[in-house]
Symmetry: C2
Subunit: 287 residues, 2 copies
């Protein structure tokens, strides 16, 4: 029994064969729960599904070791109607991209389809091993790209996992084509539940300040004052005025720790928008 | 005569009809220079073209008012072989997305193709006005999407500018479909040239610090010390270790101003990677 025992459904970015599906399997193992599964075709649909359905959790990609934050995830997460939808847990999935096609020879390939992040992660391979006049088509997921190969010229290719090749009956033309062989993606389990401190946690928040000189620094100085280690800052457009931002910040500790609670309170006082995004255990791979 | 009078070539993200082409035209007007034009199909190719060819400038998208920073631009810009490739100038182009198709009725549309940022910018329109089982296909530019419509089912649509509709002989099914009617994109002119202070400038830098607790805050305190207004921070993956970042920062002032020069010197001292990305006049639209 754990805090997820009442969960009835788990939504994730599908279709089958996606890296997000692998992350979903890791979470099911980790918390030993077996809800009904709901593969959806957009990150925002996964988050909205969790927002609209009680006793539901979701799995979304948060960050890739090469490409950085998945903005569709962070932007949608801070805009849910239920403000208690939070990050509950994280896992890291190693990414092993393969070039998949109906054909078997690299020199026959005339186009490549994949999720924009996968295309970006294989940028060197695409620039040096594939022809200059290659057609580059972006798809909503790596699995979707593989599934769509039938609709294109036979000499098109998709970038995806080995499992995708099996699922969609494609040849693996090249393996491990990602520029960085240590490529990894961090996924989050999200939902309206409370977590407890584990002693090795991190906290994510989002806030905006008044648009006046020095306002951002005033907030950052709160972290200094409490000696809280700041690991990550991102500036996302406020969408109201060009040059105004919502800041997404990750730092060490759990919101139920006294120091973090006080710091978060002071940041809220200085913000004109504030959203608590979650306190959760830092992922430790099991070897 | 101005500092760009020796420029022979201007590269930009094409093909014709792209918003980047409009930005290129604005820069040509602004500096009154008429170099040979080189439309290229990837942002990284524009930057590499400028990197490899002397007397060449390039135009790349930097930031959208809804979607935020264009990471391919900022990541590639700090990795050029010539460390003197810098941002020289910026312009802001209003974005007016239209739904374009061979068909004329909205209810006939079965798919939509565009650049991932354009799709994201029209997210509400796509979710509410187009069918749930719509095929969503991502292309390398809005103009490329329009150009590719012939290769798909006739009932597919593309998102792009009015000019794109004319160029590729498409109907404008709907106008101004972007979620935010004040949607704008900021474009940069880049090249190996020096700029002079104008009195209303901003400076962009990128740096990474030692991976130790508080290292980021130590650098940010330098801005406090000199009362320099920090407007933007982004954390991009270092691509060496998950959780290590290169920070991209924008702040007020020109590197030839005494205060900014001193602050930049101190930041360099505290960084294990540092790249000066440019000091340039803040864009003021001419009414």
């Amino acid at each position: 029994m754990n805090f997820l025992s009442g969960v009835m459904r788990i939504a994730y970015l599908g279709p089958g064969g996606s890296y997000c599906e692998m992350a979903k399997d890791k979470f099911l193992d980790m918390y030993d729960f077996y809800p009904a599964e709901e593969p959806l075709n957009m990150i925002s649909r996964v988050i909205n599904f969790v927002d609209e359905n009680p006793n539901t959790v979701g799995v979304i990609p948060l960050e890739n070791s090469v490409e950085g934050t998945v903005r569709e995830s962070s932007d949608t997460l801070i805009a849910t109607k239920n403000p208690n939808i939070r990050i509950l847990s994280e896992v890291i999935v190693p990414i092993n991209h393969c070039l998949l096609s109906k054909v078997t020879e690299l020199y026959s390939i005339t186009g490549v389809i994949s999720h924009p992040q996968a295309l970006a992660q294989c940028h060197n391979f695409i620039s040096t091993q594939l022809p200059m006049n290659l057609a580059i088509v972006k798809a909503s997921s790596t699995a979707d790209a593989a599934r769509s190969l039938d609709g294109y010229n036979l000499t098109y290719s998709a970038i995806g996992s080995k499992k995708t090749a099996q699922l969609y009956n494609l040849n693996i033309v090249c393996e491990n084509i990602n520029d960085d062989p240590t490529n990894q993606t961090r996924f989050a389990l999200i939902g309206d539940f409370e977590t407890e401190p584990t002693g090795n946690d991190k906290t994510s928040i989002a806030f905006s300040t008044e648009n006046k000189s020095g306002a951002l620094l005033e907030v950052l100085e709160i972290f200094s004052k409490y000696s809280i280690n700041l690991s990550y800052i991102d500036s996302r457009p406020s969408k109201t005025k060009f040059g105004e931002y919502v800041f997404h910040v990750d730092f060490d500790g759990h919101v139920k720790d006294e120091i973090v609670k006080n710091a978060v309170y002071e940041i809220q006082e200085k913000s004109n928008f504030f959203r608590f995004v979650g306190s959760y255990a830092k992922y430790k791979p099991i070897f």
